[in-house]
Amino acid sequence: MDILPILSTLRRHKITAFLVILEIALTCAIVCNAVFIISQRLDRMAMPSGVDEHRLLHAMLANIGATSDGKARTQEDLAALRQIPGVAEVASVNQVPFGGSSWNTGIKLDPKQHTSTLNATTYYGENLVRTLGAQLVAGRDLLPDEYMDFDDVVRAAAAKDNRMTPHVVVITQKLAERLWPGQSALGKQIYLSDDPVNVVGVVKELVRPSIWDDATASYSMVLPIRVSQGEYLLRTASPQDRERVLAAALDKLKQINPHRVVLKKHIFDDMRHNYFQDDRAMAGLLAGVCVALLVVTALGIVGLGSFWVAQRRKQIGVRRALGATRRNILHYFQTENFLLATIGIALGMLLAYGINLLLMAHYELPRLPASYFPVGALLLWLIGQLAVLGPALRAAAVPPVVATRSV
């Protein structure tokens, strides 16, 4: 092909060639990393919660005046909520998945351990596992007679009285695998204080209310503790009538005790949507910048391509006069662009790798998978070819007679 003459021409236009290469390399490096971050964010947004998302409702109420007998009032609320048509399960809870604020504690496998093995979130609330629709994969759910009141547990813990602290727990599969790799968690013991707690059940998945580190997102436990802080979870019989059920539930609660205000009310799908809003915004912004980068690079190639064609009109005319076909001229410019793009892509890959190393050090990003390299290369080759097509066609249209004209 024309490669040798192209190389010798490029050697005479070192600066311009270098600029095209540099632009392609930078674009390639930035786009590879940006697309990688976008895919990370999309993965994060699709994080499984382990709960029956389309049928869950969340409401949080607070009393206006001083409260008395919160426990009885909570039972009254729960009984009334259960009566609402369309409600399948109800629970009074201390926190909800993707809810933001969370209760956490350190877990030890041995009470003599100096530091905790890991930190996990603690879900409280009678009937919580069933209401969430979490899938039990081993063992059993917590039993009604195992439940204790939160106030009693706190008092007992402060007094170091182990009769009124929980002795059973349901944990997630990920937590079980982390604590006892390759073994069954059932019957194993963990220590939240000085007393052992037995694992009686394992759920497939249950995400934390707030996630600092995606690797520990499903380190959750459910403890047999009854809470009455005005936070309720409802599961509806079908996803269709959830808005109606939520409105009915709030009406009912206000009717039982008008002396309170609604602090939060959500359909669970909205909670997920809100929880990942920053990730969504970031992914959108990165996508926007990627498109802008590719457009600018393409326009740059068009501009420089046109300049080159204009500069070489006479040479093109001579080649045409000497028998080169239009197709030869077209291919000449396309090959030239392909060569420049290839060098740029090769440099861009190195640069992409370097940027990724920096991001790994400062933003806790994983390593860029190798599969991004061929895709990035293909994309930039394509953009280069598309951008150069216009100028190359114009070059091919130069008539041979140009050669004979003196300028």
Partner: protein, 434 residues
């Protein structure tokens, strides 16, 4: 001469509109994206209390037991009730305030308004002079009010507008959680960014609507918001936090001179030793005293995503500049003939160079103006985001000036190489080939 160069530049730019538009567009996109993200970064990493921040410090103590002890680890980021009260009453700083966030049910006297929950700050009397909060009406409460658990409250301007139609409400009564509070002060607009005094509330949360004495809030068992870390057998019992082995309060001090800072640090170390001798503290003395801005760094208040976006935008600007260098080179070299004539007629290399740089400057300025419009658009998009800092994204004078400096500066930089190349043209050769 400058005027003439400007005229030449405009003529030349008009001659090839397509190429000029491409250059301006590239610069504008790069500048627009960079200025949008840099403005967000600038706003978010700003000083919440200009003028006062240099004298504000955040002490840290380590009251935990030996469980999980590792030498030289950062002490907890909050204090216990006992330590907070001890430090508050020691009065070793010029000003000191102990505080936590909370939420209170407000019961308006007007029949038309339903009860609602307001964000509150339970704190001590020095909060107002120390943070130089502006008062619209009235004043803060006194140290005696703190001691006497007085039912006094300071409310925000927006709450005053909502409840009292913006009139001076000092002396009036505000009912909260079935208790009557007397309004002693109304704050004017006050929203320090970041929300430095308690980052648990969200780094860029707006300031609270209700301020009342911490001791009063504890006595009435008002709802507490924020983070709480416990060790040993502590935790959970909200009614007995005073004795719990838990950190849940923020403590700030004002120290007006470096000597006082050193003294205060020595005082903290001394206090820790004393508490250890008493058996309350178990760990070796580990105290810190960070300045306000340092404290914001420690808490990493500027979101990582925002920094990443700024880097990304600068990378984008770099690509746009490389693009501009290429286009400008094409443009200048295409005019080799014209430049040859100017050189032959006596213009020195320096003069041709200056002429070409003026041309780059004009492109930069045009790119800057378009970039500014794009930045306004970009910031408008940022403000529509749901994050708590979104509403703060506005361009100030500094950033406006920075936009033009960046645009013209970077374009001149981009013009250097093409202009230098164009100066190398030998006039004779150009004239001959014409």
């Amino acid at each position: 001469m400058f005027g003439y160069y400007l005229d030449l530049a405009l003529r030349s730019l008009k001659r090839n509109k397509m190429l000029t538009a491409l250059m301006v567009l590239a610069i504008a996109l790069g500048i627009g994206a960079s200025m949008t993200t840099l403005t967000v970064l600038h706003v978010l990493s700003g000083d919440p209390l200009p003028g006062a921040s240099a004298t504000l410090f955040y002490p840290q103590l380590d009251p935990q037991d030996m469980d999980g002890y590792e030498p030289d680890r950062e002490p907890p980021r909050q204090v216990t009730w006992i330590d907070g009260m001890n430090l508050l009453h020691a009065r070793r700083a010029d000003h000191q305030a102990l505080m936590t966030g909370g939420a209170v049910p407000v019961q308006p006297a007007q029949s038309g308004l339903d009860p609602f929950y307001s964000d509150a700050r339970y704190t001590s009397s020095d909060f107002f002079p120390m943070f130089q909060t502006p008062f619209l009406y009235g004043h803060g409460w006194s140290a005696a009010d703190d001691e006497g658990k007085a039912r006094v409250v300071v409310i925000s301007r927006s709450l005053n507008d909502k409840l009292f139609g913006g009139k001076d409400s000092t002396g009036q009564t505000l009912r909260m959680k079935d208790t009557a509070f007397s309004i002693v002060g109304v704050l004017d607009e006050w929203r320090p960014n970041p929300h430095f005094y308690d980052v648990n509330m969200g780094n860029y949360a707006s300031s609270e609507d209700v301020f009342l004495p911490l001791a009063t809030a504890r006595q009435l068992q008002l709802d507490r918001n924020g983070s709480m870390d416990c060790w040993g057998n502590g935790g959970g019992d909200e009614s007995n936090l005073e004795n719990a082995p838990c950190v849940w309060l923020q403590f700030w001090v004002q120290l007006d001179s470096p000597a006082k800072v050193a003294d205060y640090k020595a005082f903290l170390a001394n206090y820790s030793r004393e508490q250890k001798a008493l058996g309350r503290f178990q760990r070796p003395v580990n105290v810190r005293l960070s300045g306000l801005m340092e404290w914001l760094d420690i808490n990493k208040v500027v979101p990582g995503d925002v920094r990443l976006q700024a880097w990304l935008a600068l990378g984008f600007l770099l690509v746009c500049l490389v693009n501009t260098v290429g286009l400008m080179l094409a443009k200048f070299l295409r005019r080799a003939g014209e430049l040859g004539v100017r050189r032959a007629l006596g213009a020195s290399r320096r003069e041709v160079f200056a002429q070409l740089l003026v041309e780059s400057g004009v492109v930069g300025l045009a790119g800057g103006v378009c970039g500014l419009l794009l930045a306004f658009g970009g910031l408008w998009l940022v403000r529509r985001q749901p994050s708590d800092y979104a509403a703060l994204a506005h361009l100030d004078m500094t950033m406006l000036l920075a936009t033009f400096l960046l645009a013209v500066g970077s374009t001149l930089l981009a013009g250097l190489l093409p202009a230098w190349r164009a100066c190398q043209i030998t006039p004779a050769l150009q004239l001959k080939s014409q």
